[in-house]
Point group: C2
Chain length 258, copies 2
């Protein structure tokens, strides 16, 4: 053990916290408490701003750009190794395409002993849940989440997953559907889904759920690319039974209703 | 309009509320507020008991057996049609295999106009998220949820989804894996997954996450059926990259870590 790690005299703490869609009444009390009690809060700037009311005097807040996930994780681990309590925040659920995995991967790579620092994951309302809640009840049956970002995953694998999901009739939530430079993938996804589902399959586009600039479109598999879609949009594609009634997207569970 | 529906003079309200895993600090403030403000709270007895501290004097609490989903939904709609505020609660996320869908299906079937009663879905931490958070970060990559209950879904379709998920390397969350009378399905699911994944693939069994009787086993695809599994157990099966380090189940996101 290095002497310079000892003066604080307590083991560090890493709270890997999901802040949900961003509105304060959608954050669990456990997550709020972790954010308020942490010595340091680290996160991507946009989401740090949304939870600012939770911060306490004397806390160190480190808001970093979105591209620097590894730097954020490294910094968090360093500070926790010094004995500090560190809350790493992700929007949605920190455990779904969030920072929890990267931090734990890096800990494992450094030979983490499982207890120092202590690590706790605090789940949050994920983007797919927030989106679903705002349009009705589309996730009533088997579903899957697929990220269309091929930065870290070969496009080949993503395509296989789209095909499998389309064929086996999963309700599909697409994350990271489109960026400024990456516009082809979502069109390919649409094509794959259309091979197995009707053009009229309901599709919901939800951006900034529960926030002031919330933007929701209820459309179809045929039409949805005529609407704005970007990195922050969650795309929910119904299965073969999903229907729309008076603005609500509903996937039947299989009960005999009438 | 029937005259006997008019004396309350305000439109009814249906709050379809997810109460998460059950511990009060895992319920969103929005969900808590809906439960406390409702004239009537309707739900399955076990979960009603877990949220009892949120109830207020004068509220009507209707705790019904687990098998009577349709009766609960009908009752909730009836009361809302009379002008009452009704909170229908489901554990986990009401919008994921929960009551939200059934209530909305029945409303649609009755020719609901989209506004009377008003309907709002309040998401909650789902079983798969609670389970994931308690074992590490297994949901860092594309995942799917599959219910093994064939009460409402033909087993044929469930099997197709298992096959698709196994083949396309989704992390898989199995809901309703096994009941007292239904014990074969989980063994078939294991076999399907073993056709495409190593015997050493990490598997987590999580029951009663965040509650006093929480029960967690970290095991493998080969071994997991040697452990207790029941209707309330969530089974998380890793993808081909998922690893275990010092008791933490981690699915790499694809970053170059070291």
């Amino acid at each position: 053990a290095r002497a310079d790690r000892k003066y604080i005299g307590k083991p560090g703490q890493l709270w890997l916290v999901g802040t949900g869609p961003g509105r304060l009444d959608q954050i669990t009390p456990a997550a709020k408490a972790a954010i308020s009690r942490a010595d340091v809060v680290i996160g991507y700037r946009l989401y740090i701003d949304l939870i600012r009311p939770l911060f306490c005097p004397g806390q160190v807040i480190e808001a970093l750009p979105i591209t620097q996930e590894r730097q954020r994780a490294e910094r968090a681990i360093d500070l926790a190794n010094w004995g500090l309590s560190v809350a790493v925040i992700s929007s949605g659920d920190c455990g779904i395409y969030g920072m929890a995995g990267l931090v734990m991967e890096m800990l494992a790579d450094q030979g983490w002993d499982g207890t120092t620092p202590r690590v706790e994951v605090m789940p949050g309302i994920s983007a797919l849940q927030a989106a679903a809640a705002r349009v009705g009840a589309p996730l009533m049956h088997d579903f899957c989440a697929i990220s269309l970002s091929d930065l870290l995953t070969p496009w080949e694998i993503i395509q296989q997953r789209l095909q499998a999901a389309a064929q086996a009739d999963f309700v599909v939530a697409l994350y990271n559907p489109k960026s400024k430079t990456r516009t082809e993938q979502i069109a390919i996804a649409q094509k794959i889904l259309l091979d197995h589902r009707s053009e009229d399959t309901p599709v919901a586009l939800v951006r900034s759920a529960y926030r002031e600039d919330e933007f929701i479109v209820l459309t179809t598999l045929r039409e949805f690319l005529n609407h704005p879609v970007d990195m922050l949009t969650t795309v929910l594609v119904g299965n073969r039974s999903t229907l729309v009634h008076e603005g609500a997207m509903i996937t039947p569970r299989g009960y005999r209703v009438s």
